[in-house]
Symmetry: C2
Subunit: 435 residues, 2 copies
């Protein structure tokens, strides 16, 4: 039986589990591949740092380039743009098959790296980069290769789903839940990448590129986080039969001139409680896919964590290794098309708007008039009144749901309503999907 040398770059949470499984499960992996997978070494900055798994000291090295030079398969789990990018390029140049879970690198340079790999005739796989253990990239790229994906909506960040789910369940405020999530290890000390939506945006770019056979610049992803979501937003959503989720959305839409465009965006989103994505709780991830023939699909599982992510890395590794054993090139990218990414203003969405207004005759009519002037169609309107704290009379709370319409018109409607003298405050504006 042949032996394939595996070089592991990085040995954090995921890397240490990958190393452990390569060592502990060597026999089963060999049976599945038809060749032995030999962990040749693990490149790290500090070989003496404590690791999650108990790994032989002699495997560690600081010389990543030397390790790569003799490897058949390189697994990159360092994260970040550099030195990961240089080392992945080096692996491709040496003719090694590459597995990476580095979403930042892929979002920024995935297209270039894929082109390099194809040119060199080597395989490049990155299932672990989006939604951890969930097989989503392979189904999109292969199982749905004979269909047309029209829309992808994913809960692809466990931290924000944990926070929003806890706010939904307990009614607590964002700050309190974030602090609890940090205490439990679900959120990092600096939670910006998660709660700001940036982690989800990188994954949205990768999902969109694969789904639509195009290239997506990470800078083209419209990104809103969840930091401004209040307990009131959550309560209002519940009342209306919705739950708030941070969604990474990639959607094919006609541009204003009728040509084809895609919208790639991350924002807090109201989805109906009966939608499959609504039942994704805690730190779980799920990706909902709509395709012309397949219809609605959903893929659900653990989106992070050492062992689940290692499972995805090893799935890629076994697939690449099998191909090395049986010979022939790895699968090629489907031929690229270029579809422009539309700015958020050119997308089609629907809004759910909360506002406070003076409780006096004619207010509703003036608000409704602004919607009509912008061509925005109101689907639902609920009004309740309550006394104002300073005793000056009653205030009206309005909740307005719109039909789908041009985002620019919706935004302009809200901006104009905010200027109305009878409107005290627009308290919440959230987009709605899945109706």
């Amino acid at each position: 039986m042949k032996t394939l040398k595996v070089a592991l770059l990085g040995c954090g949470n995921v890397g240490s589990q990958v190393a452990r499984i390569l060592l502990e499960d060597a026999e089963d992996l060999a049976a599945r591949v038809g060749a032995r997978l030999k962990l040749a070494g693990i490149a790290v900055r500090n070989p003496d740092a404590p690791r999650e798994a108990d790994l032989p000291r002699e495997l560690f090295t600081t010389d990543a380039e030397a390790l790569i030079a003799s490897a058949d398969i390189v697994i990159e789990l360092m994260g970040g743009l550099e030195p990961a990018g240089t080392l992945v390029r080096s692996a491709i140049a040496h003719g090694a098959a590459v597995v990476t879970g580095n979403k930042a690198l892929l979002a920024a340079q995935g297209h270039d790296l894929s082109a390099l790999a194809e040119e060199a005739g080597v395989q490049l796989s990155y299932e672990a980069a989006v939604a951890g253990a969930i097989p989503i990239l392979r189904p999109i790229a292969e199982s749905l290769a004979g269909d047309h994906i029209t829309k992808v909506m994913g809960i692809v960040n466990g931290t924000t789903n944990f926070i929003l789910d806890a706010m939904d369940t307990t009614g607590a405020a964002f700050g309190d839940v974030l602090a609890e999530a940090q205490r439990l290890g679900y959120a990092e000390a600096d939670p910006t990448a998660d709660v700001g939506g940036h982690d989800a945006a990188a994954k949205a770019a990768i999902l969109a590129a694969l789904s639509f056979h195009t290239t997506v610049d990470a800078a083209d992803v419209h990104c809103e986080g969840i930091t401004s979501i209040t307990a009131d937003d959550v309560a209002a959503a519940q009342e209306a039969g919705y739950v708030i989720k941070l969604l990474a959305i990639a959607e094919r839409l006609p541009a204003a001139d009728g040509s084809d465009g895609i919208s790639v965006r991350v924002h807090p989103t109201l989805i109906p409680r009966l939608h499959p994505l609504a039942s994704v709780h805690g730190a779980f991830n799920a990706v909902f896919v709509e395709a012309e023939n397949a219809g609605q699909l959903m893929f659900y599982g653990q989106g992070a964590g050492g062992r689940p992510t290692a499972s995805a890395v090893l799935g890629d590794t076994v697939a690449l290794a099998r191909r090395l054993v049986i010979g022939g090139r790895g699968r090629t990218r489907s031929h690229d098309v270029t579809i422009p990414a539309l700015p958020i203003a050119q997308t089609t969405t629907s809004y759910y708007i909360g506002l406070e207004a003076k409780d006096q005759p004619g207010v509703l009519a003036r608000i409704a008039q602004i919607f009509a002037a912008h061509g925005v169609s109101i689907e639902t309107m609920r009004q309740t009144t309550h006394p104002v704290a300073d005793g000056s009379g009653d205030s009206a709370t309005l909740r307005i749901g719109t039909h789908r319409g041009p985002e620019a018109a919706l935004a302009a409607t809200v901006a104009e309503i905010e200027q109305l003298d009878v409107v005290t405050a627009v308290t919440s504006v959230l987009r709605v999907e899945g109706n």
Copy 2:
């Protein structure tokens, strides 16, 4: 650009959609494959029968063998064992790559056909055979190839899920809902294959074989249908926080002697209402997978219908065609192991039992004693009393949930309880999963 000739065998619900897409979408498919996919012909029994899609009459032929002889790719969508089996063998012998959605053929002869295809160095794919549009076989065989699947539980028959979901929602009786399902086209005039669990059993055999890298004889699948499920069962399940689903279950379990075994079974099952499978409504399918490292995964989508199933067929077709374009053998099966299928009596399950007993002192103690004598541990017990119709006094309704235990002990416990003079009737015995 190269042209690959595609022979289509069968032109029913799915076949006509596959033909339509091959014709209408030729340009996009060519871009994804890197070669043109030319529909060379469609073999059917009666070329003049009415079809769902509007297809050129000259494509039809009754000479399947002649069509196969000149094809690069053969898509078999005839269903049934013969002549499908002979034609698939013929395609393999001619060196054509084969796509099939024929679950009956695969459940009965999948192992032989895979071996034949491997020997001949040709590709054989059958994603459409299980759960229609849902990409499930590829994720199991490839994405999870570096993990160990421990259990698969699938809602893989849309008809029975439609019926059970309607019973759960409306409280109606099985017979009434079945009649309505037949009227709406969700159930066939002869519903035996669906409601008897046989369709799900064939899919369970395919799922188990792929998940555990072994061979599964369709005759080893324990199969119970849903015909005996009553409105009372459904109501009792609701009261206890469960929903009843027909599940195809494949599970790795230690045999009595401690060696490895698998249990492959289909039966109505109580699952907790918060379990991801509980929110699979109507005719939708879903497959829940547990793996050692990945943890819990679920794949959800449409399990039947012409267009969704055609999506899966075309996914396979594009993947096989790409491989033909870039050269090299198709992926090989992972090396087989032989794991014995355990009879249902040797599996581990838990029961939820409903029974009627005389409302007199000591009854509960006698029942509890029988559980204890068989080593079966009771998890929950609820008792309510109600007057007997003939006015002879009160009757006690008992609902007993057990912990997981050996199926044989659970069955023996129920058999002995049925013999108790104080027990009027055991009204319901259902297995529980997902706790």
